[in-house]
Assembly symmetry: none
């Protein structure tokens, strides 16, 4: 994935967040979980910086959206404590796997700061750029 | 335990994983929890590197398979939060204690990347080398 | 400092880096050292992600450019080992304090990936936005 | 890089270490610094496990052999404290960049446990596999 794609996604996420009237952090990582781009909107709580980072990291490391990761890492599910690995992972929505139009995994995006539903919608608006 | 034994176990685990058609990471540690050997099969998700390490570490540090550790570290069990010690432990199957033919603890093996059942089967195929 | 200012600085830094024909990472932090914005240009080595972050962090935490910090933290200077504090700091150029037109400290920028001279020039091109 | 290549390199390194009569650890990472394969020879000191890992990590993150990294990260050189980034890096020989026959960076190998000269020779014997 190129920085130009990440920049388009950041802008799409910012536009969607403004439309929803919320302040979030947006983190984009490559397919090996290394940071590519990050932005924190004015008024986002400081604590969500790391949350958006970890959502993106969780999604790409296990090749699944963080909301799906939550299902397997729950105390009553099969892989409880999985969230303790890899420096700490995030078991709720807002981290989406990024795939190119041909389906290849190219990275992940994490959004945090609004409701989980809005976080997911913002991340989705960004991810759609890659397959538009 | 000698590296020659660890190498035999790695090969047995790889053979079993290939037979099952899955991609996993395999970590072998000695009786003091220090890494001896590690391999990541092509196409295993990056997140499972640390999971296989932690499964092996969990098993040897508490001298029990990680699936048994899960029973005591669950939120409803007697030692909840035990998984937060020692840099983070893993409360699900795939980490097996390694014992020599005379029953002496010589280390542990962790396997991650497939279903928990397959992870355990692969680890078992490797562990059986020591008592064959 | 607002995200809108950070975005202007990121763009100015990218433009200067492209003019110099180099690939860098650019990190902008606020006056409390919390990340505001980050971008990694295509082909920048992965190791410089953390370097750009630490340059920005070093500058804002001690309210001096990282090249000045280098003078006091060198083994032969008065505060040797200061670079071991705060999770690890960076004793060479490329981290600049950001001040508003009235001189108030508003954050810092770190640039890494090119020669130290170019890193500083890129960071300076961005910092100048605030006082233009 | 495939595991099959990493395995060939591990074996070449072990053969060279045995020829030299030394005990080392050997770490192979991919182009994004993620572990691919690791082996610790019998009698290698426990402390060199992390050294071999960090040598490989240093080489790939900055796309240069760790002996070259040492030149820029020395207290009297231009990037002093660079070794404090990325979780701690290694400023001496034994970490080699791995390149395919076409010159593309595919990962790195770190060897530690013998003299630096022998560590480098062992790593070189492994790296040569890729271009043979």
């Amino acid at each position: 994935m190129k920085l130009s794609s990440a920049t388009l996604m950041l802008n799409a996420a910012l536009t969607e967040a403004q439309r929803l009237g919320v302040s979030v952090c947006i983190s984009i990582v490559d397919a090996a979980a290394w940071p590519m781009a990050f932005m924190r909107m004015d008024d986002a709580p400081l604590g969500v910086i790391d949350v958006s980072n970890k959502k993106a990291r969780t999604a790409v490391l296990f090749q699944m959206d963080s909301a799906d990761f939550a299902k397997i890492a729950h105390p009553d599910a099969g892989a409880y404590t999985l969230e303790n690995t890899n420096g700490g992972l995030t078991s709720f929505g807002g981290g989406l796997v990024l795939r190119a139009a041909d389906g290849v995994l190219v990275g992940a995006i994490g959004v945090s700061g609004a409701s989980t539903e809005d976080d997911i919608a913002i991340a989705r608006a960004a991810a759609n750029i890659l397959t538009a």
